[in-house]
């Protein structure tokens, strides 16, 4: 297991230290769960996204939007250290989680991922039964308690229990795409995370399934903090509290395209009265 200190969750008063360039706090804004400070991610030395700094608030839905290649998926994968799995990927700057540096030497990536769950673009159920898909996480984490109860609770929170309670032992591959994606959300809820990261969770789904997942997200934000990457601006407008807009620009004199954050603000403001003209052009559909 190595000499890894467990990630201690700070309970109260541990506000992420304010840093120059970070957005100012707004009125009733809750506690910051993530603080990004000048984060740059490189793949084999080439920056994919550069100089990102903003705070993500607890019990809110934060949307990351922008054109393809702007690094929003790369950035969200920093938040639970999934980039560790990609050979050649390096993260510079500081990613604070409850004030603690996620990339500090004594932080174990496996511990991070226990607390920060992730839902992927394409539903990726395991080739097992519905029950075993949910039970997998609690089992590998050695969670105590009645497994049937854990499974029922997760499926209920994932708004899936009524649809599947009579066929828990059948293969997850027999479900529709939308059901599979809700299963993946429920699977993530079963390990009782703190945050749920969603990387374009609806891009492979039809509008009705998308609507159900959006409803589910709005319910879940009472209990969890959610960060969502989406290509769909209407989706960001419908569900999120705050939105970060990213863009992609060619490096000066270089061949590489690097993502940058243009603006981060309350979703209403981003969509109705953005401060940057590039944001306005994108959200009104003139570019992108």
């Amino acid at each position: 297991m190595g000499a890894s200190a467990p990630l201690k969750r700070r309970i109260t008063g541990a506000k992420a230290p304010a840093v120059e360039g970070a957005p100012t706090e707004r009125g009733e804004r809750g506690e910051a769960i993530f603080g990004l400070r000048d984060v740059t991610v490189k793949y084999i030395g080439v920056p994919a996204v550069r100089g990102i700094g903003f705070d993500i608030t607890e019990n809110e839905i934060t949307a990351l939007i922008g054109p393809s290649g702007c690094g929003k998926s790369t950035l969200i994968r920093c938040l639970n250290r999934m980039n560790d799995l990609i050979p050649g990927a390096t993260v510079e700057g500081t990613v604070l989680y409850h004030g603690q540096d996620l990339y500090a030497a004594n932080v174990d990536a496996v511990e991070v991922r226990k607390r920060i769950g992730m839902v992927f673009q394409k539903p990726n159920p395991f080739p097992k039964s519905i029950y075993d898909n949910i039970a997998f996480g609690p089992r590998v984490l050695g969670m105590k308690g009645d497994m049937d109860e854990i499974v029922e609770r997760a499926l209920t929170r994932g708004a899936l229990w009524d649809e599947v309670k009579d066929r828990l032992k059948s293969s997850a591959f027999g479900m529709s795409g939308g059901q599979q994606q809700r299963l993946c959300i429920a699977r993530c809820l079963a390990v009782e995370p703190d945050v749920i990261l969603m990387d374009e969770p609806c891009s492979a789904l039809d509008p009705i399934s998308t609507g159900r997942i959006e409803d589910l997200m709005l319910e879940l934000k009472e209990l969890y903090s959610i960060v969502i990457v989406t290509h769909n601006m209407q989706q960001a407008a419908r569900v999120s509290d705050r939105t970060a807009f990213f863009t992609v620009e060619l490096d000066k004199g270089e061949q590489h395209r690097t993502g940058q954050m243009v603006e981060f603000d309350e979703t209403d403001k981003i969509f109705t009265n953005p401060s940057d003209s590039r944001t306005e052009a994108y959200v009104t559909g003139r570019v992108g």
């Binding site: 799995l85 050979p87 496996v110 992927f120 990726n124 080739p127 590998v140 591959f173 993946c184 699977r187």
Partner: protein, 288 residues
């Protein structure tokens, strides 16, 4: 129009040429089968399977050879499954292809698959039968020699089976806080078992017909007892067949039908193993 007709003609001629080639190979196989079945079918009986080899052709059987072959296959399987699967897991899941030693291992495994079997026989003789291990010409040495011979087949097919498991499954598992080892043990390996098993069976069906390495490691040609353990002397079906064919036959003792009977038994075993492999592959093939 003329051009069209001539290209049509060429098309037809090509088709006929291909069909002729298939016909020739099928015809040869057919002749071989008919010949062996005609000579050997009269031999197939319970007594044939249940008698030891004898100078008297009428009282000869293949019991010692059949039991020897089964022992060899058991030793071979016990050796290639753990070593082959572990190697495949290392190469697919852990090895960094950027490192020269991993590429060296990979190239060498592919080369080993092409080494003539007699070379493995010499290796077995030098290292297992004599030399460092000095096991003698026993079942263990024979089985391990055959294992070395077919190990590359198991590794290559095991790697293919592991590679066929999509990375989204690994990501889904890791994102729940499972460790790398838990992900491999509980997700990747179970999902790739049908492919691995198919590879193992095909490897064994290659090993079962090997003659040359067994001759070199000193399989007995005439034996009238079953192997009693790993340290027992042994013979095997191909050796027994070879022995019968090479003996001078006369009107009193005609060994040729015995050889044909032995070939039939070997072929039935082979076909059965390959059928199981095909069945496994079709029955448990995972549609991702």
């Amino acid at each position: 129009m003329r051009a069209a007709r001539s290209s049509k003609l060429r098309d037809a001629a090509f088709r006929i040429a291909l069909l002729t080639c298939i016909g020739i190979s099928l015809l040869l196989l057919g002749i071989l089968l008919v010949d062996v079945v005609r000579d050997g079918i009269g031999q197939l009986s319970f007594d044939f399977l249940n008698r030891f080899s004898s100078i008297n052709a009428k009282r000869s059987g293949i019991e010692a050879a059949l039991m020897g072959t089964l022992w060899l296959m058991a030793v071979c399987a016990g050796f290639i499954v753990p070593i082959g699967v572990a190697t495949a897991v290392y190469l697919e899941e852990y090895a960094d292809n950027g490192r020269w030693w991993n590429r060296l291992i990979e190239v060498n495994i592919q080369n080993l698959a092409a080494v003539p079997s007699i070379v493995y026989g010499i290796l077995g003789l030098a290292f297992l039968v004599r030399g460092p291990l000095s096991l003698g010409n026993v079942v263990l040495a024979g089985g391990l020699t055959l294992g070395l011979l077919v190990l590359p087949v198991v590794i290559i097919s095991g790697r293919e089976a592991i590679r066929a498991v999509p990375s989204s499954i690994r990501e889904g598992s890791l994102a729940l806080g499972a460790t790398r080892w838990q992900t491999i043990w509980r997700q990747v390996l179970p999902a790739s078992i049908p492919g691995i098993a198919t590879g193992v069976i095909l490897a064994l069906s290659r090993a079962i017909g090997e003659t040359a390495p067994l001759i070199v490691v000193g399989a007995a040609t005439f034996i009238a007892f079953n192997p009693s353990g790993l340290d027992s002397q042994f013979t095997a079906l191909p050796i027994q067949i070879f022995d019968w064919i090479s003996r001078p036959s006369n009107d009193i003792n005609n060994y040729k039908p015995l050889a044909a009977g032995g070939i039939l038994v070997l072929m039935i075993l082979l076909l059965a193993m390959n059928s199981i492999a095909i069945w496994l592959r079709n029955r448990y093939e995972q549609k991702w």
